[in-house]
């Protein structure tokens, strides 16, 4: 049966270990990969969209370049890969994306080794809010060396 892994990135941040892990996991699960880049942008007032048009075009171009650089690594291994870009409120776009697509068997956080934190309230980052409640496990990776010698 065919499997699907989703890698989620936020604001252009790409963590190398996550990609390594994703590649290995995809080979082990015989799965396709989807890369989802979420770029945060507030559309509180719909009239704003017009003025943000050029900013969006710019982001789209940047992201396309970045994503195509990443996909090369997977294509080399013969892994089927697709990419998606969503601009807006990340949690909302993320959940919408999951709802639209057929189910994934694993989600991987691709922007950092651990889930990001906001200031003194780590639980405030959007991904942490939804992390434990998704259709399948959300995974983060960090290298073991890093863990053995904790932050100074």
């Amino acid at each position: 049966m065919f499997q699907r892994i989703l890698v989620v990135f936020e604001n252009e941040k790409v963590c190398n270990d996550s990609l390594t892990y994703t590649r290995e996991l995809a080979l082990r699960m015989d799965s396709d990969i989807t890369l989802l880049m979420l770029v945060e942008m507030a559309f509180m007032d719909r009239s704003y969209i017009g003025s943000k048009r050029s900013a969006i075009t710019h982001i789209e171009e940047q992201m396309r370049k970045l994503l195509s650089k990443i996909t090369g690594r997977f294509l080399k291994e013969g892994i089927v890969i697709s990419t998606a870009l969503r601009i807006g409120h990340p949690a909302e776009e993320f959940l919408k994306f999951l709802a639209e697509k057929p189910p994934f068997q694993a989600l991987i956080w691709g922007s950092s080794a651990n889930l990001p934190e906001i200031g003194r309230f780590p639980q405030n980052h959007w991904i942490r809010k939804v992390a434990g409640n998704l259709e399948c496990p959300l995974l983060t990776v960090s290298s073991k060396e890093q863990l053995e010698s904790p932050q100074e």
């Binding site: 049966m1 065919f2 499997q3 270990d17 390594t20 892990y21 290995e24 996991l25 080979l27 082990r28 699960m29 015989d30 799965s31 509180m44 409120h89 949690a91 909302e92 959940l95 057929p102 189910p103 068997q105 694993a106 651990n114 889930l115 405030n124 959007w126 809010k129 939804v130 992390a131 434990g132 409640n133 998704l134 259709e135 399948c136 496990p137 959300l138 995974l139 983060t140 990776v141 960090s142 290298s143 073991k144 060396e145 863990l147």
Partner: protein, 492 residues
């Protein structure tokens, strides 16, 4: 153990007589020892005999060696089990009542270790209940004392033939994974998996529809096969279909089949899955991805026990058991209106929940060795163990791909392993160098849409600092709806 080759030599002339009487097993006069050994490799089998009665053991050995089998005898069943780990064995003949471990328990353990080994149970107390129980658990035959040597040998030959047949069908299965036929064994000793096995045993004979829920790779299809093989439909076909992998028209076509010229391109009549599976079991994987229009049709089939081919007018009557599986939360899908409630209740007569591998970590070593065994048979390597470090690494890994992922890891390890032990270096590099953290719901239940909505609204309210107009805007609903939801979920 006595040397089988030697004993065969000794009794050669006697054996030829026996052969003639017993039927068409080819046997040539041994020109050289070498040749004989080759010959033995083809014709003789390794049989374990287990009985606490030493005299009975001796008698059985004598009978069996007539048929040029290699025989190992055990007066202690636990010893026999232990020996199974290192010695090849085709057939076990065991007494029913023994100290330490009775015949049925031995049978169960053997089947768990290697389902292809056949078992013959012998008993002094021919109780019918016991016999039925034993065949259900995969015993080959039940022989009551006293018996004649001929009767025993005939039974042994029958059992060995059965084993060959099974192996052939397994080989076929390799080539054609869609066809049914492999004997499903669910490996594991953890309470969660034992519970699943128990549930399967109970519901299998009933014939009712079953819904199996669980993440991908947890063994949903395996469980479905187990149910099929333990039901009275075992002789009938088992047909699996993934509803998530096809478009709507294709699904209808695959499930119901079509009449000739039902649509452009339909040049001949095609039997659908339901028809192929008649008198057997249909396994519908990813049922949550079945389009609503198809759900209605499926419901009708279940209710009326007949169906039409695409473009057909004559109803075809149907006798199948439907086992559906899903990784999605169907209750949430129902609330959302993408899964029909009536169908849900029809399918979910019984629910089997497959645990994640991470919820039954104690099964990882057992599964790892089971998979190792499986791939060794295919890859022709001489690996005997998995190193302690490698096992520890596996035990501490989260396995988002569940048993399927473990299976693939072991397959790769066997492929790259150079020595006779699988080491850490044979495992995927990220397993060793990366620490994995998994955010999962602790209770393993899937979150309902309602719960998700509740969490999300709470979150949006927080980031918008309680400004409801803004929150409503982000959520894409009007203020009144938001207000209602706040009331409903008590989010003030």
């Amino acid at each position: 153990m006595q040397n089988g080759v030697k004993s065969t030599f000794d009794s050669y002339s006697k054996l030829k007589r026996v052969k003639r009487r017993l039927g068409p097993i080819t046997l040539q006069k041994p020109a050289m020892r070498q040749d004989r050994q080759n010959d033995r490799g083809k014709n003789s089998s390794h049989i374990f005999v287990v009985d606490d009665d030493k005299i009975a053991l001796k008698n059985l050995r004598r009978i069996l060696e007539k048929d040029i089998h290699t025989v190992s005898t055990f007066s202690n069943p636990l010893r026999a089990l232990k020996k199974l780990e290192e010695k090849h064995c085709d057939l076990i003949i065991t007494d029913l009542k023994m100290p330490y471990l009775d015949g049925i328990s031995l049978l169960n353990k053997v089947k768990l270790l290697n389902p292809s080994i056949e078992v013959i149970l012998i008993t002094g107390y021919a109780s019918l209940d016991g016999a039925i129980n034993a065949t259900r658990q995969g015993a080959f035959f039940y022989l009551s004392k006293p018996f004649t040597p001929d009767k025993m040998l005939a039974l042994v030959r029958q059992a060995l033939k059965q084993k060959l047949l099974k192996e052939d069908s397994a080989a076929l299965q390799e080539k054609n994974p869609r066809s049914a036929g492999t004997y499903p064994v669910i490996i594991g000793k953890s309470p969660k998996i034992v519970q699943v096995e128990e549930a399967i045993r109970q519901i299998a004979p009933s014939g009712s529809n079953v819904l199996i829920t669980g993440e991908s790779g947890t063994g949903k299809e395996l469980a479905a096969r187990a149910i099929h093989y333990q039901s009275h439909r075992a002789e009938g076909p088992f047909v699996a279909f993934n509803c998530g992998a096809f478009s709507e028209e294709l699904i209808a076509n695959e499930i119901f089949g079509h009449e000739k010229e039902a649509f452009t391109g339909a040049t001949s009549r095609k039997q659908g899955l339901l028809e192929v599976a008649n008198s057997g079991t249909v396994f519908l994987d990813e049922i949550g991805d079945m389009p609503v229009s198809m759900q209605i049709k499926l419901l009708r089939v279940i209710q009326e026990r007949e169906f039409l081919r695409v473009g057909g007018t004559r109803p075809i009557s149907l006798d199948v058991r439907i086992i559906a599986a899903t990784g999605k939360d169907l209750k949430a899908a129902m609330r959302e209106g993408v899964f029909r409630q009536d169908l849900y209740f029809r399918l979910n007569v019984v629910n089997v929940i497959m645990p994640r591998l991470s919820e039954r970590k104690q099964d990882i070593p057992l599964l790892a060795y089971y998979m190792l065994e499986k791939f060794l048979r295919r890859m022709n390597k001489n690996i005997t163990a998995i190193s302690r470090d490698a096992l520890a690494l596996l035990e501490n890994y989260t396995f988002p791909g569940n048993v399927r992922e473990l299976e693939n890891i072991i397959e790769r390890a066997v492929a790259v392993c150079q020595g006779n032990t699988i080491k850490v270096s044979d495992l995927p590099p990220d397993l060793a160098s990366l620490e994995l953290y998994s955010y999962q719901r602790p209770d393993s239940a899937l979150l309902s849409l309602e719960e998700l909505e509740q969490d999300y609204i709470r979150h949006i309210l927080k980031i918008s600092g309680g400004a409801r107009t803004q929150a409503a805007e982000i959520l894409g609903i009007d203020r009144v709806s938001l207000w209602r939801k706040i009331k409903k979920y008590n989010l003030e």
